[in-house]
């Protein structure tokens, strides 16, 4: 029987030990987020995920969603699980208290997000987009909209969606056709078709709030002519209860490779009533606020799904008896040794583990900067934090989902043939993980965002928020003899990242195709260096603390850190070589020969 155990010890480690929790509690808004309280929150969250959500993961996949007369019925058990989620107040964990939220930091909330994604990725998509809608309305919504919608979204009574994609336009939103006609009542009639709308229709909440991109009649062409509208499924009546049904309806749901329990809807809007959010023609600005949040959220999915895949593979490798160790029998009392005796199995498992623990540290680092971005006292500190979030968002999204998918695949490999059949449940992780590389901006787009937008912004200022602390740490630790193997490895990899960055910035200026050709490998190089830096720091802390109460934990950390440095980080060498080779091969190849 498959189980999920939330990695509470490691979550606490990153929150309290790797990073300084006191820097968070020093912020007025987060002074309650003490390690003790946070630990209790983690435990409660773990219970929900382990006991309510994980058991529905496999059954939800088998059953899928049902489309009946324009309504979507979620799989058996989802309604009561969602009720438990709402009852626990989980939807508003990091939302503002003035709208009924718990006011916890982002750096605490991401632990819950990870657990949700590990336990049941499909389920996580229902509340998942509500957070993005919450943030977009908080920043760009009128006061009336905020008062009416935010408390209901925060509580989880209502849920949210992002309606961007249309049949003919996905990545290129400039082609968008959905139109909005102003009415005399200060609102708009919106008409068009939206596809791939996650949680566009379902039976978990009493109302659904769609944020829809559409064009006003006088709009300029392209991306500069798009506005954002709020379109509720039911128009709120004077008491704020769901009233008249709006003409936004679900036409069908998609049949997909994975996340089958998540309803992916085709939505029709036929003169549906909507309200403008933000300024006319400035919809993309508001959308990006939401999208950046959503991109970090998808990165969390990559981590969450990798974690459950690792847990399953680790358990299987220890219990599955097959063959004997190549250095002699290890368990003579058993008919065969467990898989775990084989170096290659151990290599796979450590590759998986060094990723999940490294990625957990990275996401916490980014989430802390969300906290500083929102609540730091000086403008300078808020800006520095925002710079960091800007540059790390595409990396979290793409690196964690690409690598996360690979990890699920590695987990399947450990299971051998049993992984390929449905019974063990691990092929579901592979299928579920696959979408994370695609939605919220395919990973190739993330790489272009990193190289084309984030890298040159303010002549490299965003990069400073990563490069300076890393460089400083390397300099500071250059005399720490015990740490030398780690310092040498990371400083070599970091040097490659610096050189590649300088190279792409200059080459890309002359020829944008150079930047485009290098982008994906550069993003991976960046991600590996970020993890390498965090592993070096985790090793530093663990070396200091080993031999104490929790020796096994720290000892494991040190070895995993060494594994990452020796077996994973050297990939930066081949990525560097590939980046420096330039774009000529791919750009010279004749189109028609492909």
């Amino acid at each position: 029987m498959a189980t999920y155990t939330a990695p509470l010890r490691d979550l606490r480690f990153v929150y309290e030990e790797l990073f300084d929790a006191e820097e968070i509690t020093a912020l007025e808004a987060y002074r309650d987020a003490t390690p003790d309280l946070v630990s209790a929150i983690y435990e409660e969250g773990a219970k929900l995920c382990q006991n309510e959500l994980f058991p529905l993961n496999r059954s939800g996949d088998e059953e899928g969603c049902h489309f009946e007369n324009g309504n979507v019925r979620t799989p058996e058990g989802f309604r009561s699980a969602y009720a438990a989620y709402v009852d626990g107040g989980w939807g508003g964990l990091n939302c503002a208290p003035e709208f009924g939220g718990q006011g916890m930091p982002h750096s605490v909330n991401i632990a819950l997000e990870e657990m949700l994604c590990s336990a049941n990725l499909s389920f996580s998509t229902y509340p998942g987009l509500t957070r993005g809608v919450y943030r977009a309305l908080r920043v760009f919504g009128s006061e009336a909209i905020k008062q009416l919608y935010l408390p209901r979204l925060v509580s989880g009574k209502w849920s949210g969606t992002m309606c961007l994609t249309e049949p003919h336009c996905g990545t290129d939103l400039g082609l968008l056709r959905t139109r909005a006609e102003p009415t005399k009542q200060d609102n708009y009639r919106i008409t068009g078709t939206k596809i791939f709308i996650t949680a566009g229709e379902h039976d978990l909440t009493e109302n659904i709030v769609h944020l829809v991109l559409a064009r006003l009649p006088d709009s300029p062409k392209g991306i500069k002519g798009i506005s954002l509208f709020l379109v509720p499924k039911f128009m709120p009546n004077e008491q704020g209860e769901p009233g008249v049904r709006n003409s936004v309806t679900c036409a069908s749901i998609e049949h997909k490779m994975g996340i089958k329990a998540s309803a992916t809807c085709v939505m029709n809007l036929q003169e549906a009533t909507g309200w403008l959010v933000g300024q006319p023609h400035r919809g993309m600005q508001a959308m990006f606020t939401m999208m950046n949040d959503a991109r970090l959220g998808v990165g969390m999915q990559g981590l969450g799904i990798a974690e459950i895949a690792y847990q399953a593979a680790g358990a299987y490798a220890k219990e599955r008896l097959q063959g004997r160790s190549i250095t002699g029998t290890k368990q003579p009392d058993k008919p065969a040794d467990p898989l775990i005796v084989h170096p290659d199995i151990r290599r796979i498992l450590l590759t998986m583990r060094s990723f999940t623990e490294g990625a957990r540290a990275l996401t916490c680092w980014v989430a802390r900067n969300l906290d500083f971005r929102d609540k730091a006292e000086t403008e300078e500190a808020r800006q520095a934090a925002d710079d960091f979030v800007q540059v790390m968002t595409p990396i979290v999204k793409a690196f964690l989902t690409d690598y996360g998918f690979e990890v699920t695949n590695m987990g399947l490999q450990v299971h051998g043939g049993h992984g390929y059949i449905r019974e063990t449940g691990v092929e579901q992780y592979v299928r579920d993980a696959r979408i994370t590389q695609i939605y919220e901006g395919a990973n190739g787009i993330q790489a272009l965002d990193l190289v084309g937008r984030k890298m040159p912004a303010h002549t490299g200022r965003y990069l400073r928020s990563f490069f300076h602390p890393v460089q400083r740490w390397i300099e500071e630790q250059s005399t720490n003899t015990e740490l030398q193997p780690f310092v040498l490895s990371i400083s070599k990899a970091f040097g490659r990242l610096q050189l590649a960055t300088g190279h792409i910035a200059q080459a890309g200026l002359r020829n944008p195709d150079e930047g485009g050709a290098a982008a994906s490998e550069y993003l991976r190089l960046f991600g590996l260096v970020a993890l390498g830096y965090l592993w070096a720091r985790m090793a530093q802390i663990s070396i200091e603390k080993q031999g104490g109460d929790d020796n096994a934990f720290y000892a494991a950390k040190i070895v995993t850190a060494r594994f990452f440095m020796e077996r994973v980080l050297p990939q930066t060498g081949s990525l560097f070589a590939a980046i420096m080779s330039g774009s000529s091969t791919m750009m010279e190849f004749p189109d028609e020969t492909f």
């Binding site: 300078e380 303010h458 002549t459 490299g460 200022r461 990069l463 400073r464 490069f467 300076h468 890393v470 460089q471 400083r472 610096q498 960055t501 300088g502 910035a505 200059q506």
Partner: protein, 793 residues
């Protein structure tokens, strides 16, 4: 002080020495007269400035005296150095016309009134010495009217010298001679205007508005009229008729604000009074109620309550506002959103062919302006090249009208004129499928003459242009950033051609190559020179900031070291290195000057070590060289501190010298460095200097430094702290100031120790890299790149 020496005229029967102009009088101390007198003083000549005695004045020279005082405060300054004001002697025309007896040149710049001018001429005629020259700065009165009823002796010595405002900065001098004017007078004026005053002298026919204003006024009329007809905002119009046409970004409405809107009706009236009956201007001209109303209400431009733009200072903030031409009210400026503006970056043709309203407007303005210019040759000038020179230098257009027609394609232009029902001028028909300019088989530049054959563009004697050399020879070596050229007589020229001529690794690579190749290939000297707007604005700040943002400290240290090494190599090369700057020579560009054996500077050179503005200190030897110069400066008493303090003030306040003359005050230039008034003569003068130095050349000795060390550092640091306490310095000014103090005091040295050049360079290097590690310095660099202004953090 440099002095203008008369040149030689190459005429029939050998060289004729022209009479010297050693003393000048300017009569009329308005903005133009005073500005002309200032430029004469800038050229090193004594000049009398005379005006009337106002009724009831107790100081009889009050007008001229006030004009001189005003000029000392004007920005941009008419005087290249405040001490030049001493060369201007104020006077009045009642008591002092007798001074004209000692003058070789008398320039009249009084009010545009024929009677007043002629009355003055008659009085001058009684006083002036034989063979002296009299000129008028009139812009509207024909020469024929001015000399009517004047004696032949006057007419022989008379010409029009038409300067543009401001006389120091606008390079055009229109020269109009009458049928009786002596050839020697014309030649003398041409030579004086060219060499002494640094002007591009263009000979014009005696027609209304001469060349530049004749065409310029029609351009303005069409730009305003079509903008209003087509419902353009002032920002839109300026964005079309400005940069995309190679015209300063003030465009049309910004230009009117600058020159004064109230000037318009005067100019229009005088043109209408003088122009031939069938002139295109008469068709275009419409009296503008809008302009009349603005003038009536005092909205005359920058000098008045505002113009088409104004800076609204209400609420403590400066907000740039524009006049809404429909409602006649001010509103915040709106960035124009016309696709044609971007399309215009691809060229003039792309601009006028763009289908949007901006493209149509551009075509309407250009079609009228360019066809008008083409119809006026040879009536107003002998050839198309004179017209182009006048518009480039008088109105600061990047290309003259005929160069613009060439960019459009003359045949295409004629065809499109035809389609637009505009007349095709005969000269345009004559050029047909050819172009107005071409290069001949020897790569010499030629223009299309009114005789339908091509003629060489002749440069004045002694003018050497790199542009001509580049047309006819191949570069010796080079890369994307810099090139080296053989400019003859064993002299090599290094040309930087990056954006703003910023210095990068590419430039250094080519400097290195030049140093290597000069002895090997039989050259004797190196000149560093380019024909861009600026000599060099210093290091490529963007590259430096990016490198700092990714913490590439090793790379940055290497770049600093490389610069130090290459500048040192220039200094100690076994051949003379001469810099010939014009425009800005800032930061690393100024440090380059400091390492050369000699500088031949264009008078309009703006040098300074401005690093502190971006939170840095000079680190390519700038501190070192300036310290050395001041310690050698004999005016200073012994002991190291005076020199250190002087350099600390100069670098610490980021002083920029506003002229080559001023640069000598700060020792950015040495006392014996040369100054060339005319930009076009700079390379030739530098070459002459280089060849002179190449004889028996030996490289300079290595300097030794005796610096005060900590005691000096403490003194400077206290001064910085004081400035901070009194609010004159910001927090980061203190950080940068202390870093600079450490370098200039010699670090941990004391007066008894001797520091080598390399040790001082080491201090510079360490200081700059440490500063780049501070967030405040990086914020300064970023702010400068994004806004062009220093950040005071």
């Amino acid at each position: 002080m440099h002095r203008w020496r008369p040149g030689y005229r190459h005429g029939h029967g050998g060289d004729l020495k022209l009479p010297a102009i050693e003393r000048v009088a300017v009569i009329g101390a308005g903005v133009m007269g005073a500005g002309i007198a200032a430029q004469v003083a800038n050229a090193g000549l004594p000049v009398s400035l005379l005006d009337i005695v106002p009724d009831g004045a107790n100081r009889r020279n009050v007008i001229a005296e006030n004009a001189i005082q005003r000029m000392l405060k004007t920005n941009p300054a008419p005087l290249m150095h405040t001490k030049n004001a001493k060369r201007i002697t104020p006077g009045n025309i009642e008591d002092d016309l007798s001074v004209t007896a000692d003058c070789d040149l008398i320039i009249e710049a009084v009010v545009e009134n024929l009677e007043i001018k002629q009355d003055l001429y008659r009085r001058v005629e009684m006083n002036r010495k034989k063979n002296s020259i009299v000129t008028s700065n009139t812009s509207t009165i024909p020469l024929s009217h001015l000399i009517a009823e004047m004696p032949a002796s006057f007419a022989h010595d008379f010409a029009i010298t038409h300067f543009f405002n401001p006389p120091r900065y606008m390079r055009l001098l229109e020269l109009v001679a009458g049928p009786q004017t002596r050839l020697e007078v014309i030649e003398t004026l041409r030579d004086f205007g060219d060499r002494a005053l640094g002007k591009t002298v263009v000979e014009c026919k005696d027609t209304p508005g001469f060349i530049a204003n004749r065409i310029g006024i029609l351009w303005m009329e069409s730009a305003v009229r079509f903008a209003i007809e087509d419902g353009f905002t002032v920002e839109e119009a300026d964005a079309i008729v400005g940069r995309p046409m190679g015209i300063p970004k003030t465009g049309i409405f910004g230009l009117m604000d600058l020159v004064g809107i109230d000037l318009q009706p005067h100019v229009q009236r005088s043109m209408l009074a003088l122009l031939p009956d069938k002139d295109l201007y008469r068709d275009l001209y419409q009296p503008s109620e809008l302009v009349d109303q603005m003038i009536a209400e005092g909205y005359t431009g920058r000098k008045g309550k505002g113009g088409f733009y104004r800076l609204n200072r209400a609420g403590g903030k400066k907000v740039k506002e524009a006049l809404d031409l429909e409602t006649m009210t001010y509103r915040a400026t709106i960035k124009p959103d016309l696709e044609s503006i971007a399309a215009g970056k691809k060229g003039l043709r792309a601009l006028v062919e763009h289908p949007d309203r901006g493209g149509q407007y551009a075509w309407r303005v250009l079609s009228h302006t360019l066809s008008y210019a083409a119809a006026l040759v040879p009536d107003i000038a002998d050839n198309v090249h004179a017209v182009d020179e006048a518009m480039r230098n008088g109105y600061a257009w990047k290309s003259g009208p005929f160069e613009m027609i060439d960019q459009l394609g003359p045949a295409w232009f004629a065809n499109r004129l035809d389609q637009s029902n505009l007349e095709i001028p005969p000269l345009l028909s004559a050029v047909g499928n050819q172009t107005f300019y071409r290069t001949d088989d020897n790569n010499r530049l030629q223009f299309f003459g009114t005789d339908s054959t091509y003629h060489n563009v002749e440069r004045p004697n002694g003018v050497l242009l790199l542009a001509d050399i580049k047309r006819s020879t191949k570069r010796v070596d080079g890369n994307r950033s810099a090139s080296i050229w053989d400019i003859g007589d064993g002299v090599m020229c290094l040309e930087c051609h990056t954006k703003m001529n910023a210095l990068d690794a590419g430039v250094f690579e080519i400097i290195g190559k030049a140093i290597q190749q000069i002895p090997v290939k039989g050259f004797h000297a190196l000149i560093i020179y380019n024909e861009g707007d600026n000599f060099s604005v210093g290091v490529n700040l963007g590259l430096a900031l990016f490198a700092a943002n990714i913490a590439a400290w090793t790379e940055i240290t290497k770049t600093v070291q490389q610069g130090q090494k290459i500048y040192k190599a220039l200094k100690y090369a076994p051949f003379p290195v001469i810099a010939a700057p014009s425009g800005m020579a800032l930061g690393g560009g100024c440090e380059l000057l400091l390492h050369c054996d000699a500088v031949q500077a264009h008078a309009e050179t703006y040098a300074g070590l401005v690093e502190v503005g971006v939170g840095l200190v000079p680190a390519w030897g700038g501190c070192k060289e300036l310290l050395h110069r001041w310690s050698q400066h004999c005016e200073h008493p012994k002991g190291p501190m005076p020199a250190v303090t002087k350099v600390f003030e100069t670098i610490g306040t980021a002083v920029v010298a506003k002229s080559a003359q001023e640069a000598k005050t700060y020792l950015f230039l040495q006392p014996d460095d040369g100054i060339t008034m005319n930009r076009d003569r700079l390379l030739a003068d530098a070459k002459e200097r280089a060849l002179a130095l190449a004889e028996n050349y030996s490289a300079p000795e290595k300097p030794e430094f005796h610096l005060p060390g900590q005691t000096g550092e403490v003194a400077l640091t206290m001064a910085v702290d004081d400035l901070y306490r009194t609010g004159k310095a910001t927090a980061h000014d203190v950080v940068v100031g202390k870093a600079l103090a450490h370098v200039l005091s010699g670090g941990n040295t004391d007066m008894t120790e001797t520091l080598s050049e390399d040790q001082v360079l080491g201090l510079e290097r360490k200081a700059i890299v440490n500063l780049m590690k501070t967030t405040a310095t990086l914020a300064r660099m970023e702010h400068m790149l994004e806004t062009g202004k220093p950040l005071r953090n």
